[in-house]
């Protein structure tokens, strides 16, 4: 982002920069990031055998923190692994596309978010190395739908799954108790088992005796995302057609989420903003739809004060929200070594370790039987058996097709329409029309 660099003295060139930025994607190699190449050259030994592989990720992927790179370097003394990281995927992804199309500035292994994977495979397949045939990669070790998402129309698998986001519902035991709801996680799960409308009913019960200053859930957008995540068809149908506007499942999710907002069950927050973070710390809401990766987030934001207050119960219906893949760009200098690294990082044992250390849930179902997953309990969430809970959810995830603009559609639904209903009290039908208009504009239809 060039915003941070802007200075008043340089306003003259600001316009040129602004214009330049638009096309730097198309025509220029990016000089801003020489690090992967530089690092690579530096580490090639005199005999030219020790090489450095770079892994480009967004957010806190956790592979470095879980010690996976160190372990790999111990196994392969001739290889060094470095990570480059950008905080947010909406900055990372356009840059990845730019680098892929320019064939430079790339890391040897790059992460791709599930919302972007279909677009990457549809438009960049010839710039990626096929990974399905790399020694050590076993398709039967992965969940079939995750494997399918990483496979292009030509049947070649170019992206290996890392984590997935099987869903649960995180809830505050203390607030549930004060509102007269059950607090034991089995009983809580039964409140809404099988149907998201049960979640709404529980919310209405909560509201009757809600502790002062608290809401049942954080945001209508969160409900929307969770409900769509458990649908059999989401934004694209099996033939790859965009069906957001006419898919009854999306509209049902919309109406249900809108009901949360209209009936005052939400804290009217926007997810992943500072206000949302603060609300975790201040205990402003009692539940939040909880993909596996959310547990760590809650632990960070609610802090030590939340310890023992939070618990986690099964979601009404299984679904997966989020998750990622690893790809190997064909422009890399060490494609074979990079492919082997990607295969190793996504193998069941490493995914299990990532789950144990960081909470990212494996997409390799073979890992679910490993004791570090099957027996995993989360001390922060009242020793909840998160391994078994999320494994059950993961096995039940419907194999919904993903399309090229999944991420953009989800973001528009959450940040435009549902936010209007939740925060400005706009009529759901009106907001739906505004969202569809924004979507048509964004998708250039």
């Amino acid at each position: 982002m060039w915003s941070g660099r802007r200075s008043r003295g340089a306003y003259g060139i600001a316009l040129a920069l602004l214009l330049g930025a638009v096309l730097s994607a198309g025509c220029a190699t990016d000089p801003a990031e020489p690090s992967p190449a530089a690092a690579r050259q530096r580490s090639v030994d005199e005999d030219g055998r020790r090489i450095t592989l770079t892994v480009g990720v967004f957010g806190t992927f956790g592979m470095e923190e879980a010690g996976l790179y160190d372990a790999y370097m111990r196994l392969h003394p001739d290889i060094a692994v470095r990570q480059t990281s950008l905080t947010r995927n909406d900055v990372y992804y356009p840059q990845l596309l730019t680098h892929l199309t320019a064939g430079s500035g790339l890391a040897d292994v790059q992460a791709v978010e599930v919302g972007n994977i279909a677009e990457v495979l549809a438009t960049q397949a010839d710039r990626l190395v096929e990974l399905g045939t790399v020694p050590g990669v076993d398709r039967r070790a992965f969940l079939p739908w995750k494997w399918a998402q990483g496979t292009g129309r030509d049947g070649r698998t170019r992206a290996l799954g890392t984590d997935i986001g099987p869903q649960a519902v995180c809830y505050r035991k203390d607030l549930f108790a004060r509102a007269g709801l059950p607090t034991e996680r089995g009983a809580v799960g039964r409140l809404w088992a099988g149907d998201w409308r049960g979640y709404l009913a529980a919310g209405l019960r909560y509201r009757e005796r809600a502790p002062e200053g608290t809401a049942f859930t954080d945001s209508a957008s969160g409900v929307m995302a969770a409900v769509t995540a458990s649908a059999r068809v989401r934004f694209y149908d099996a033939r790859g057609r965009l069906v957001v506007a006419e898919n009854p499942a999306v509209r049902e999710a919309w109406d249900l989420a809108a009901a949360f907002a209209r009936r005052g069950l939400t804290a009217r927050l926007q997810q992943f903003t500072p206000g949302w973070d603060q609300a975790f710390a201040n205990g402003r809401f009692a539940t939040v739809a909880c993909p596996a990766w959310m547990l760590g987030y809650i632990q960070d934001k609610a802090g030590p004060a939340g310890r023992g207050r939070w618990d986690v119960a099964a979601a009404p219906r299984p679904g997966s929200w989020g998750g990622s893949f690893l790809v190997v760009p064909a422009a890399g200098r060490h494609r074979e070594e990079a492919a082997r690294l990607a295969a190793w990082l996504t193998a069941p044992a490493q995914q299990a370790r990532l789950f144990a250390r960081r909470g990212s849930f494996p997409s390799a179902s073979a890992a679910y039987a490993l004791p570090s997953v099957a027996g995993a309990r989360h001390p922060y969430f009242g020793d909840a058996p998160v391994g078994a809970l999320f494994a059950t959810a993961a096995r039940g995830v419907p194999q919904a097709p993903v399309g090229p603009k999944d991420a953009l559609v989800a973001q528009t639904l959450a940040d435009v329409g549902m936010l209007q209903i939740d925060q400005t009290g706009r009529d759901p039908d009106e907001a739906w029309r505004a969202t569809m208009k924004a979507l048509d504009n964004a998708l250039d239809r």
Binding site: M1, S3, G4, R6, R8, G9, A10, Y11, G12, I13, A14, L15, A16, L17, L18, L19, G20, A21, V22, L23, S24, A25, G26, C27, R88, D90, P94, L97, T98, T101, E119, T123, Q124, R268, Q270, Q271, F272, T273, P274, G275, Q278, A279, N282, R284, L408, Q411, D415, V416, L419, Q420, Q423, T424, R426, A434, K437, A438, N441, A442, L443, D444
Partner: protein, 333 residues
């Protein structure tokens, strides 16, 4: 500053080649017979840089704006003529962004320049520890826009923000500074005011100190109040500085980007749930880097440039029509 430099230096290489009428004939013939590459060589680094980072992006953006280009495949461009421009005419999001840009621009620029005048006037008076005050005035300008905006986003938080807490202590209800259309625009404008007031104040201060002190003494002898001195001595002396800050602030307002982007708390570039504070810069970014439509983004970039050009042409025209006399004296000077 590239543009101003380009304006002053670009004619320079043209000079020797031009069959210069007013030049003495001896020099003119020498220039024609003995071509010297030295000036070009000396200018070459700048010209190369300017071509690479000034001219080429401009032209390539113009080219992109005439095509349908996606970030997923920048190599495959489909000629669409002026379609990217014509569609802006009935693009509600574009007009919304333009209106927001103008609104926030006015909300930010006017108070900012007036405040800067006041601050400069205060600093011009002999104060103790003036140096400290000058540093304080410039501190916001030196702060990164990211850090400043994040602090402002917290300050204007709906539930736990200080702005609402302050409003509460004087008996007003909380304001939704994110979703209220005017509240959010005011909040974004306030960040701009906070950041640039000190900078403009220092420019005014520098200009004020060039006004001869005797003029003030003479005015005081004639019995002029401080206010009249300010109106009739200070302000006329500040005219070039006022013109400069007005120009620079206008350009800044049209390009406003970082503040609204970050004020949206990092939730995309939509400028709020209802695009209520999406500026042109933000819409350009959304089209190019979120929606991946490079051609459309390029067209918006050029539209922004055209808007600036038209705005400045209008200002010139207005000055010609409304202020013929100062204009003439200005030309003589």
């Amino acid at each position: 500053m590239t543009e101003t430099r380009a304006a002053t230096e670009a004619p320079a290489p043209a000079n020797p080649v031009r069959p210069a009428g007013p030049l003495p004939p001896a020099r003119a013939t020498r220039a024609r017979t003995r071509f010297s590459p030295a000036p070009y060589l000396l200018l070459a680094p700048f010209l190369l840089l300017f071509a690479a980072f000034g001219l080429f992006p401009l032209l390539a953006t113009a080219w992109a704006s005439l095509h349908r280009v996606e970030l997923t495949a920048p190599g495959q461009a489909e000629w669409v003529g002026l379609r990217n421009y014509s569609r802006l005419l009935d693009d509600a999001f574009f007009w919304n962004a333009l209106l927001n840009t103008v609104t926030i621009g006015v909300l930010a620029t006017v108070p900012q320049l007036l405040l800067a005048l006041g601050v400069a006037q205060l600093l011009d008076v002999r104060l103790r520890a003036r140096g400290v005050f000058r540093v304080v005035a410039l501190a916001p300008y030196a702060t990164s826009v990211a850090a400043a905006t994040l602090v402002f986003a917290l300050f204007f938080g709906r539930d736990h923000g200080m702005a609402n807490w302050l409003l509460g202590t004087v008996g007003f209800g909380p304001v939704d500074w994110q979703n209220g259309p005017w509240a959010s625009r005011l909040a974004v404008a306030s960040i701009v005011v906070w950041r640039w007031t000190g900078y403009n104040a220092l420019i005014y201060l520098a200009a004020m100190q060039t006004v001869p002190r005797e003029l003030y003494e003479a005015a005081a002898l004639d019995g002029a109040s401080r206010w009249r001195q300010f109106l009739h001595v200070t302000l006329p002396g500040l005219r070039p500085a006022l013109a400069f800050t007005g120009l620079v602030s206008t350009i800044g307002a049209v390009q406003l980007f970082g503040e609204p982007l970050l004020y949206g708390s990092g939730a995309g570039a939509s400028g709020g749930a209802d695009h209520q504070f999406q500026t042109l810069g933000l819409y350009l970014y959304e089209q190019g880097w979120v929606n991946l439509h490079l051609g459309r983004a390029a067209a918006i970039a050029w539209a922004m440039l055209l808007i600036l050009v038209v705005a400045f042409a209008l200002v010139r025209l207005l000055r010609l029509l409304l202020l013929p006399r100062p204009k003439r004296s200005g030309r003589a000077a």
